[in-house]
Symmetry: D2
Subunit: 367 residues, 4 copies
Amino acid sequence: MAGSTLGTLFTVTTWGESHGAALGAVVDGCPAGLSLCEEDIQKYLDRRKPGQGKYTTARKEGDRAQILSGVFEGKTTGTPISIIIENEDQRSRDYSAIKDCCRPGHADYTFDQKYGIRDYRGGGRSSGRETAGRVAAGAVAAKMLAELGIHFTTYTKAIGDISIPDGAYDFSQITENPLYMPSRSHAELAAAFLEECIQKQDSAGGVIECRIDGLPAGIGEPVFGKLDASLAGAVMSIGAVKGVEIGDGFGAARSFGSLNNDPFYADGPAVRKKTNHAGGTLGGISDGSTVILRAAVKPTPSISREQETVDRNGNNVRIFIHGRHDPVIVPRAVVVVEAMAALTVADLLMVNMSSRLSGIKKFYRDL
Amino acid sequence: MAGSTLGTLFTVTTWGESHGAALGAVVDGCPAGLSLCEEDIQKYLDRRKPGQGKYTTARKEGDRAQILSGVFEGKTTGTPISIIIENEDQRSRDYSAIKDCCRPGHADYTFDQKYGIRDYRGGGRSSGRETAGRVAAGAVAAKMLAELGIHFTTYTKAIGDISIPDGAYDFSQITENPLYMPSRSHAELAAAFLEECIQKQDSAGGVIECRIDGLPAGIGEPVFGKLDASLAGAVMSIGAVKGVEIGDGFGAARSFGSLNNDPFYADGPAVRKKTNHAGGTLGGISDGSTVILRAAVKPTPSISREQETVDRNGNNVRIFIHGRHDPVIVPRAVVVVEAMAALTVADLLMVNMSSRLSGIKKFYRDL
Amino acid sequence: MAGSTLGTLFTVTTWGESHGAALGAVVDGCPAGLSLCEEDIQKYLDRRKPGQGKYTTARKEGDRAQILSGVFEGKTTGTPISIIIENEDQRSRDYSAIKDCCRPGHADYTFDQKYGIRDYRGGGRSSGRETAGRVAAGAVAAKMLAELGIHFTTYTKAIGDISIPDGAYDFSQITENPLYMPSRSHAELAAAFLEECIQKQDSAGGVIECRIDGLPAGIGEPVFGKLDASLAGAVMSIGAVKGVEIGDGFGAARSFGSLNNDPFYADGPAVRKKTNHAGGTLGGISDGSTVILRAAVKPTPSISREQETVDRNGNNVRIFIHGRHDPVIVPRAVVVVEAMAALTVADLLMVNMSSRLSGIKKFYRDL
Amino acid sequence: MAGSTLGTLFTVTTWGESHGAALGAVVDGCPAGLSLCEEDIQKYLDRRKPGQGKYTTARKEGDRAQILSGVFEGKTTGTPISIIIENEDQRSRDYSAIKDCCRPGHADYTFDQKYGIRDYRGGGRSSGRETAGRVAAGAVAAKMLAELGIHFTTYTKAIGDISIPDGAYDFSQITENPLYMPSRSHAELAAAFLEECIQKQDSAGGVIECRIDGLPAGIGEPVFGKLDASLAGAVMSIGAVKGVEIGDGFGAARSFGSLNNDPFYADGPAVRKKTNHAGGTLGGISDGSTVILRAAVKPTPSISREQETVDRNGNNVRIFIHGRHDPVIVPRAVVVVEAMAALTVADLLMVNMSSRLSGIKKFYRDL
């Protein structure tokens, strides 16, 4: 299937393997007239760049994004924006350990089962590196949304058991620590915890939270194209994500209707909600309040410890995955979650424009 | 957008409002040659039927499914299967309470914002009643999958804080209690808890779990069409669902790589996993073990208590939603989650058939 | 595949067999706020109704369209519009002649090959009767487009060799003759020609032309979603259509650049073209002039003469298809071509709204 | 819209402008296990390469295709195949003549109207050069289909009024003349005719015919996803194509049922047709005979003569389009038509695999 394309009007198609010549994305349906340059994309890409600290891998690739089409004289033209990122770090390696056996927690086994063939170099298409294309595309979506006053705040809410309570956020801290946590004290605790993980040749997971501000009410399509459903599908498509919540999420399942319902009130001519347990959607459509989503990220499957698995000949074997591994991928996945959210919102925002005949009439009368 | 259609090869389009003349679904892409009768659909629909106990509304509609096309002499023909369910219970009501103000926790406000018009009778399209069409379609998907040895076990894992631990399941109990819980003792506790909710004019939520057995390895398309991503999007599109997990889900975020990775071992010629923290998918592709997903269901938003809201003129008002309300919708949503899972799996199973050239060659040589 | 759904934002899904219980269409994505009643659809359906004259079959079904959802208090609500047409004329028949052998020119053989099973009653899903659903949906699209000042003029340009030259049209005649020809004299010639066909137990084909006026410039998406490409795909999906042209079509292939290029000129502030060989599109995008398309319709395959074919056992046999047959289906297909054009234009008109960032900004600022 | 993506299972997304840095295609959904190298693509690209004779432009770009992903050790892996073609011939030019006014017969005006901005260098995205991406992708589809015994024969049937009658084909001649005509004498006549066009600073059009052999019966999805409808949409999306026919096409409109119906007969166990007026499809599904389609190509809009148009300030002006122009683009478009046909057939062939439950069962049992 065209599993590498997402979206209806604002779409992205990603391509590329971890250790191939290059990887990239084609953004199709971006409206004409958006100021866009490679630096806009680079800023986003740098947020997921490896080699930024002790908690991320040492791979020193530059991840330089080039725009090959769709931008003319600094503006998007409405035609496909092709973004390419060359793989600079392709030195020949020894893949013998992973070529013939399936790493636990990785997609080696399932790619083999599905395709009968697998680019075993660094995980190939199933590598987290594939997300570079998503992030490049997400940068375009986010740039467009910023022009409409829609902004994203995305951060690490939890690493392992160290979770920042909702009331304790200090968003100014997000960029002050390599874990992107909005709390200095929690970032320090998490750093110590990760240090332990490294000592134990183990890895940890965590929770990423994304807040979308400035989104007008009305975005999302009943019944299968709901905003929350689309966000859930998009965010769960990130390889390491195992759970997605909107608003109170699983907490809502333990609440009561009298508490969980958000009362409306009049704020001058505007209608607002006293609380936001719903996380900014009602019936899957944005209600004008902040959209809040969370993603559960599993512990990095690549660990230095010996693990049990099976080789291609069906023998039980033990595997050591050499190299330095991220003890946690949560910080690097923060921008990936944001990118997926931005792509989803950009698409549904466009789709919503045709919801009312009066809107269509006005649009064409004003042309 | 075509928000009412889901799927690529095996698709469903639902239509209909809560209190309109009828509602239904069109299943397109169901393969030819499947034995199918109205009773197959009815069995599924009966699992979500209201009026079955004290925890569900008293609405006594028959919800009789009729097949209008796509089946000939007891077999599907490959053409669209149109299923219609007439709304029998359309007596005229007094909608004045909800016509001009927005019920908290419902989609009244967002539908108004999106469309400028709203069928206020019983929630219209945003009513849980819309899921009848999904369930009817899901019955077709489940029937097809059963022919391939793929089976679903879906149940209530938790009501409010009463949650059945993983080790304590007794699946034989699922149909023995009106809450569809696989534990007699937990079902009793939950029943008592719901009794309290009713006394307090309040409502509760819960967690639904779905297990998919018999699924071959290889189902799911990288990178956006992953099995888990597709399941998450489909299940989150159920109005009351606020969170979705695969395998250990948010628990994985608190685990360690050394624990969370499922070791492979050889079981004769078969490759199996010693544990299943992943919930049956690796890299978003089925690995041959049981697929496990959970959905968080929010408390029923319709409660008998007085609530605060705003009317169409922008006045702060208090609203009473008359009528008997389900104190919990979790039991009725069990089959809806199963239907969404079945529709998703049926679609991706078909899509997977073209993954390998050797498979395509064999298919056409054997024709 | 979901072969029964067409469109991206304004979509239609049709269902139903020729002699099943009913057939219908679900229109999803129609904007909210359009005045719509069953009579709007009926008017369209009546244009394809059989039994209106000697050139069409005697089947006397009422073809009454019912709207089951998506319309509330006379206006569309933005939710799916389900339209059903019951098959009134289902008296039991003798299908033995067509049950076990394949009618030449029909889809019996290919449905058998594809599905291994076939609803042989009246052609099942491959019957021209399937177009009733399309026409019902097209009526909704045309109603919406009329609100935007976009109008369709569709007629029979040719029956067999009797073709009305471009300069000889009298559009006021279209509804004055049962062949929907915009020329009284040609309609008379064609009537005489069809009389001959009936005498010879033979059938004829013809050409339908559709003109779309009032379409703003800019509609159509490069490169695969072009307006002309979308129209061609939609119109060619009508069973009997074997060719589609835009503007001068095949005539352009015999022209010269110096003649075929339409010169632009300034008409006050407006830009117009001196000629319209292009048929209203340049690069697949509407240019503001009249869009002109033509469809070649093959002779009715059902004829009373004895024909050669093969039965299910592989024997060469002779077949007589009993009953009265249309000597020509062109007149009844006129509204089907128009419906397909209207559905295509409605969809692309909505899609075009997100082409420019400035348009999106203005839309959301004005909300 | 995602107008740059085509297909359901076997998809292509093209990107790139005529004079941008590069252009390319992403093929997603190609099955794993296909032998593929850059030379396979190059052979196809060379067929549309400019500068091959006096009838094509002198642009001497190499059009070298590089594969950046999706192929590992000489085989496709099932992941997206990214193909890039760098634009070598980007010397700075004088675009002043076309920057501020709209060339007749080109998409300058409509791109301006749609997007408000336009990459005026060589037509940008609307240039025929965009088809390089399609052809590269089509090469992959054709390679896959060849493995299944499905072959394409595509050629110039007519240049201007010089048309080869159906009975006069000599397919061995196709590659023996620069016009790709299957008739030596017609190729000579056409060459002389084009010489005249050049003298007159004019251009000509023509007709391309494509024959698809080896296609099994059953390919194509009722009702909107028909094989002929999909082919028509795909081929009409080529910028210069103004008409598409299947089988006898517009000729069928002038025929009679008794002649146009293709009688079936038994050829041993096989069912065949005595004639093939239908062009290989019945009810939009392949019938096992040769699929035949024709495309009408308009005269090259770029001609050296002075033409009338309007500039951006609304003034009537005269325009000279400098440079050497193809007097005809038909020969170069031959492979583009073939590519579009191959992409369409590859996609529908895969989609067809899920038509029957028995086929699905067998597929999964055999896995």
